[in-house]
């Protein structure tokens, strides 16, 4: 979705820039979730919705207009240090390292001169660009960062040439420096001139090049494609890295906020009661719909909440059974989101059908929501773990009734997000308390608060049927799904979109049938529930991949075909099909798919195209003492060009573990309108001893990155495990988490 054609160049006009530094701000196009595509009006009929949903679900929607703010900020000091400000937030995915590799490669930096920093609004970055989501960071920024870096390299080269009085063509970049090639020969003449020297000696204004500078070919890459050590790990293993929960400032106090007893309940009346006179309490802050306490310690703040006099009204007392009844597929209706051929006319023959269910899940990111707010007059600074500084800024501005320009958001390291750190915002809570108490306030949610009041992975149900002819060929496939909301969640998303599309496009992600069956149909049912649900790693691709890929295994069994051969037979058309074939063959080779597994074990396979990436997973499982045990996993991924192979492997390994935790353990339930589980004692996660060994095969299928890696793999896991257990025992597992009969 990257718009590569609309680069525009801007000159820095910022104040306070030392002449000993070198600054360049260049804009360019960036892909984003294309809400802007929804301009056709609210009365689209079925055909229009079908087209629109296809755009969203295949990622072909047009990009938004290019922002004026920079994509990347370079600062080269006279001592030759290259500071690199990266406009994406590091939450463990290695994005600071990967994007620094891209930038350093094209700028020809010596790696040891590179210092990576979090980009924020202080350097002009648009908070919307910093939104880190959807496995999009590399694909969106790869090309623009290279173009900026190449322009900078050429500016340095022509300036160095002027300073040395030689032709620019004779200057060869040698890593944060140029050397002069001897006239008429190949030898490089000592001494090199460093970028820092060029910058320090520069007189007058820099001129940005009028034309796009030549970019390196893949054969010239120095850093791209290498497993370079993560830039954030030294600070992380020594405990120095600062996350939102670690943010501190002199004189800060601790806040706690009253929470409703039921989802959807609002505060009708609140009074301080005796809270204000409790030891350590500094302030009780009560305003419309909000009550909180600021105290000397977190424990005292939380203890004082019990002394508040609160009256809640409204909300839900829904039960788990009622939720499951709501999220179900009705006999008719729904929005058609894929139509290939004619399913009805070809729906005869042998019918195979199955339904699958995915429960709610907690993100259980180990750092709960946290923010520090410092109010200074009518301005506020928020230091927080957020995926979206823009949403935090807007929430804080709305909470304090001030202009968004008065809110500065400092994105800290994120201690796990998986979709959880955007939307419902602790920054606004800290801001209200800081303003009310007149001191800087840190609010860090407890685990209980995070588990009970964080939004959840939406529950989903998928139902599929297919027709096989007498030769075992699939003639038609029908997929129907119902999901609670993600993007349509009124508190965090864009509900208007649902009225136009008739779907939640994020919940519908991954629901289209890409296999080359002649007749295909997918229908979406919008089934919101009164429990907050939203982004969770993989979005709709998690339940939809579980359902489609397990059903593929069921179809292969019905057709009497090996599941690998079955997928190869129906691989998607064209280049995508070639990519499917490559990852399937790679994972089959690595896992020894054609060979019989060890006694008592069986293998299962699943494949996906998601976020531009094609992946195939094989797991090897057994049943021990009535429990499913996954011993080994092999995953082949093709995201196009891989920037950092070890980082890519880490994302895949992590996705497999998180997917396996959902497959075997996690089920978030609601009783009486509130979370049944409050902490890990009632919501256990997968542990180390339960983790398989994992082999990742990263396939470099091209000269540029075309897909993300943070999410596509997670939904493969339940499908592969279900298929392995079927191969082992003949039992089909269709509801997460799996329990054996």
């Amino acid at each position: 979705m990257t718009d590569k054609t609309t680069n525009e160049k801007q000159k820095s006009t910022r104040k306070g820039v030392s002449r000993r530094r070198f600054l360049l701000i260049l804009g360019g196009g960036v892909g984003a979730l294309a809400v802007g595509a929804v301009a056709a009006g609210p009365t689209l009929v079925r055909e229009g919705r079908l087209a629109m949903n296809t755009l969203f679900l295949t990622g072909d929607a047009p990009g938004t207009a290019p922002p004026k703010a920079p994509f990347v900020w370079f600062q080269i000091d006279a001592d030759n240090t290259a500071h690199l400000y990266i406009p994406k937030i590091e939450m463990g995915q290695g994005i600071h390292t990967a994007l620094a590799q891209v930038a350093a490669d094209e700028l020809d930096l010596a790696w040891e001169t590179v210092r990576v920093h979090q980009g924020d609004a202080e350097r002009g970055f648009d908070p919307a660009l910093i939104f880190t989501f959807g496995s999009t960071s590399v694909t969106a920024l790869y090309q623009p960062i290279r173009e900026v870096a190449a322009a900078l390299r050429e500016m340095l080269r022509s300036e160095a040439a002027a300073q040395l009085n030689v032709a620019a063509e004779r200057l060869v970049p040698v890593g944060s420096a140029f050397m002069v090639r001897e006239e008429g020969g190949d030898n490089l003449l000592e001494p090199p001139i460093t970028y820092g020297q060029v910058v320090a000696a520069k007189q007058g204004e820099w001129k940005t090049p009028e034309t796009t500078s030549r970019l390196k070919t893949s054969a010239e890459f120095r850093y791209i494609g290498r497993s370079i050590e993560r830039v954030d790990l030294r600070d992380k293993v020594t405990g120095r890295a600062v996350y939102g929960f670690d943010a501190r400032v002199d004189g800060m106090k601790y806040g706690a906020v009253a929470r409703p007893p039921r989802y959807g309940a609002t505060l009708k009346r609140a009074a301080a009661g005796t809270a204000g006179s409790l030891p350590g309490v500094i302030a009780v802050v009560i305003r419309d719909g909000f009550a909180g306490v600021v105290a000397e310690t977190r424990a005292k703040a939380h203890a004082a909440l019990a002394a508040l006099e609160l009256e809640w009204e409204g909300g839900t007392n829904i039960s788990q059974a009622e939720i499951e009844a709501m999220v179900s597929i009705p006999a008719q209706g729904g929005t058609l989101i894929q139509r290939v051929g004619d399913v009805e006319a070809n729906g005869g023959g042998t019918r195979v059908e199955a339904a699958y269910r995915v429960p709610m899940a907690s993100h259980a990111q180990l750092e709960p929501q946290a923010a520090l707010a410092e109010v200074d007059g009518d301005s506020v600074t928020i230091t927080t773990s957020t995926q979206s500084p823009e949403i935090t800024r807007d929430r804080v501005a709305a909470a304090l009734g001030i202009d968004a320009a008065k809110v500065r958001v400092v994105p800290a390291y994120i201690g796990g997000a998986f979709g959880r750190k955007t939307g419902i915002d602790v920054g606004a809570e800290a801001a209200i308390l800081a303003k009310g108490a007149g001191v800087p306030v840190h609010v860090g949610w407890t685990r209980e608060e995070d588990m009970m009041y964080g939004y959840k992975r939406p529950p989903a149900v998928n139902s599929l049927w297919a027709s096989l002819d007498a030769d075992g060929r699939v003639t038609a496939i029908h997929h129907e799904l119902a999901s609670a909301d993600i993007l349509l969640n009124p508190d965090i998303g864009a509900p208007i979109l649902g009225r136009i599309l008739g779907t939640d496009p994020l919940a519908a992600g991954g629901s289209l049938i890409l296999y080359d069956f002649p007749n295909r149909r997918v229908v979406y049912h919008h089934t919101p529930i009164p429990v907050p649900t939203a982004y969770w790693r993989g979005l709709g691709s998690f339940p939809n991949t579980f359902a489609i890929e397990t059903f593929m295994d069921e179809l292969a069994a019905a057709a009497g075909t090996d599941p690998l051969d079955f997928r190869l037979r129906y691989k998607p058309e064209g280049a995508l099909g070639d990519r499917f074939e490559r990852v399937l063959n790679a994972v089959a080779e690595a896992s020894g798919w054609r060979r019989t597994p060890t006694d008592g074990r069986a293998r299962g396979l699943a494949a996906i195209y998601d976020r531009g990436t094609v992946c195939a997973l094989v797991v090897e499982a057994s049943v021990e003492n009535g429990q499913i045990r996954v011993h080994r996993a092999w995953c082949a991924v093709d995201p196009g060009l891989v920037i950092n192979p070890d980082g890519a492997a880490n994302q895949v390994q992590g996705s497999i573990i998180m997917g396996l935790s959902s497959t075997l353990k996690e089920r978030f339930t609601v009783e009486n309108g509130m979370a049944a589980a409050q902490n890990f004692n009632a919501y256990p996660l997968l542990t180390l001893a339960e983790a398989p060994t994992i082999e990742v095969i990263a396939i470099n299928s091209g000269d540029e990155p075309v897909g993300g890696l943070g999410e596509p793999v997670v939904g493969l896991v339940p499908a592969a495990v279900s298929s392995a257990i079927f191969a082992l025992t003949g039992e089909r597992l269709r509801e997460l988490p799996f329990t054996l009969a």
Partner: protein
């Protein structure tokens, strides 16, 4: 009361019943020790008391008086010329590129350091058992296994 953390003495005003985690993090500002669950389940808050791994979120500060407390900030050493020298566990976690978000990793490394001190040449099964009570939501388990085994090697090489 007086606490000794990473060989440094601190005079802190705390209630005896306050949890050690919050005294370390909030009162003293040593934020390398992380909060994950407050219930002693996830292991993010693991520190050493006299070399033993304990969960600081369920340990009262009064239990740490007169005891040598070590946090992640005290795991690395300073060389004679003032350079920071990572503990073998920290070296191994970097070498194997194990952490992702790393919120759990202070606790993972403190757990591993105490374990390896008592069992310098563990089997794979012993590593699994020792590290099984620390959650990692990013899913770095396979690498944690490798990293702990590698840390044992590094420590052996250093001792040799």
């Amino acid at each position: 009361m007086q606490l000794t953390i990473n060989n440094q003495d601190y005079e802190v005003a705390a209630d005896p019943d306050d949890m050690l985690l919050w005294v370390i993090r909030d009162t003293l500002g040593l934020t390398g020790t992380k909060y994950g669950c407050g219930a002693g389940i996830c292991g993010s808050c693991t520190i050493h008391l006299d070399g033993e791994a304990v969960r600081s979120c369920i340990t009262k500060v009064s239990a740490a008086e007169g005891v040598a407390i070590t946090t992640i900030e005290g795991l690395a050493m300073l060389s004679d010329d003032g350079e920071e020298v990572l503990h073998p566990v920290q070296q191994a976690f970097v070498e194997t590129q194990t952490p992702q978000c790393s919120w759990c990793m202070s606790g993972q490394m403190m757990t591993a350091a105490a374990f390896l001190a008592s069992n310098p040449q563990p089997t794979d099964e012993e590593i699994d058992a020792a590290m099984n009570n620390n959650y990692c939501r990013c899913g770095c388990y396979a690498r944690i296994r490798t990293a702990v085994a590698r840390a044992a090697e590094i420590a052996q090489e250093g001792a040799a």
